[in-house]
């Protein structure tokens, strides 16, 4: 094998698996961790502890802006918390049941907010 051919072969040995592995894993539908992993929307009738979530933002400053809007609508006990996947969520954690939460979410949507119910993270 000539030196040039060896260099091409070496480059292929490095590049092919490094690109091929993530593609193969993706094709195999193996899950890559994503920030959506921390969003666990509640199905109707959910009996676990619930939060009313108004949105997620990439930085605390953006989340504080959303919080101000949410509080302005009347959710004065809403707060900002890290969501465990690198984002910051604005939520209200005083939900006691799915029907009450669904009613609050509908009310928030009528006030122009994007709100939904999520299962509280453990701990």
């Amino acid at each position: 094998m000539t030196r040039t051919a060896a260099r091409y072969a070496a480059a292929a040995i490095v590049v092919v698996p490094l690109l091929g592995y993530p593609l193969a894993v993706r094709a195999d539908r193996a899950h890559f961790p994503s920030d959506a992993d921390c969003v666990r929307k509640a199905a109707p009738g959910e009996t676990a502890d619930l939060d009313l979530v108004f949105g997620r933002r990439s930085t605390p400053a953006e989340a504080e802006e959303l919080l101000a809007r949410v509080r302005g609508v009347g959710y004065v006990d809403a707060e900002v918390r890290p969501d465990g996947c690198g984002r910051w969520k604005v939520l209200y954690d005083g939900i006691t049941s799915y029907p009450q939460g669904a009613s609050s979410a509908a009310e928030a949507r009528r006030a122009g907010l994007d709100a939904w119910l999520e299962i509280q993270p453990p701990g």
Binding site: A6, V14, Y21, S34, P60, A61, P82, C85
Partner: protein
Amino acid sequence: MSPGVGALVALNLGYAVMGTVFVWAVRGMPRWSDVARLCGLGYLVGVAAFGVVWTELLVLGVPFGAWQVPATLVVGTALSAAAGAWRGMPLPRGMSSSPSGTTTSLLVTAVGVALVGLLFEAFFRSARLQSVQAFDAWAFWIPKAKAIYFFGGFDEQIFTVSAGPTYPPLLPILDASAFHAMGSADVVTLHLQFWFLVLGGTVAVAGCLARHVPAWALWPSLLLVLTVPRFGEELMAPQADVLVDLLFVVGVLLLALWLEDGRGWRLCPVTLLLAGAALTKREGLLFAGVALVVAFVAAWPERRRAWPPLAAVTALVIVAAVPWRLWYRSHGIGGEAPSDVGGSGSADRAWDALRLSVDVLFDSSLWSVLPFALVLALAIAFAWGSRRQAAFLGAVTALVLLGGAWVTYSYTDLAVTADEALNPIVRYTGAIALLVAVAMPLLLSSATQERSS
């Protein structure tokens, strides 16, 4: 790519540039291939330099904020560049003109790079969205980092009341820098900072060894070390254990090479790496002491030439390590040495502590075959290779092992057990396991006489 990940990439690139320019200033890098080979060492040097400088500045009360991070990296890079220019170091030009090694070694290197690369892709997957699970991480490493991030310094309450008040602050400073880069105290994405540290350490070991050992000795050793069961679990934990081990091990590697070739530039990064280790964990001071004491003894035949620079390194490491110790003492915190240095301990406890250290080191469920491979490599090198190198690396390993036994023996509140909730001996022993990554290739290649330089 999320903004936090991009910011971490930029921050770590900053460490690498600053440290690589420093290495260029003290060594020179005639070719871009030298830059590629030594950028891992440069990265670790940059991390250590940043952490050491900011430890001293925070002790002096200089506030640590968002703009100070890039400013430090820019000023550090500029100072190193000025020093390099003043010393007349030429800028890198072109790639290596004379390809070194055989076709076989090129292909073995390619396979090694591919396999290590695949491993790091997998590490990235697991590190990308990890929560803070390790006890010490959420008990004090990350709270201290948050204190530096939110309050701009060593907040007296958190630094004196939280667990481990004598633990040095280099890692919390790095974490706080990452928080500033990301724009928030994002403890999830923070795990990627540890991915960068391990990657940088691996590239540093590979780059420093590449021209001294054959590819067949280097890459299998690196892969073996990276894939032992213990590292699979703990490599990305946001604690200081792996960082202190990396700084120590690369420092020992440079000392081993310096003992062989006497090239003085190696002692400049050694100084920063060992000072960084001494400011990363309490045992970092012990590791640095072991490395330097053994180097003094190993350099005995050339003591007229070798001891003065080694003494300078030792003095600088001490000078770097002292201010933090003065800070916590001035805040009423007891010293990091055990209250009972062992004088009143029983012989039974000493024996049990030693046996525990040996048992943990040879626990194959933690370190696989690493310790056995190290013993074999030492024996082969003593028989057919460089006895001096074998003696140096063997003595460092033995003293670190004995140091672990001394820790268990002398801190009488530690139970004599491998249970990590009660005794840190397993984390401590990681230093020896990582040392195998540099010791095995050096020892085996010395035995087969295949080192190219």
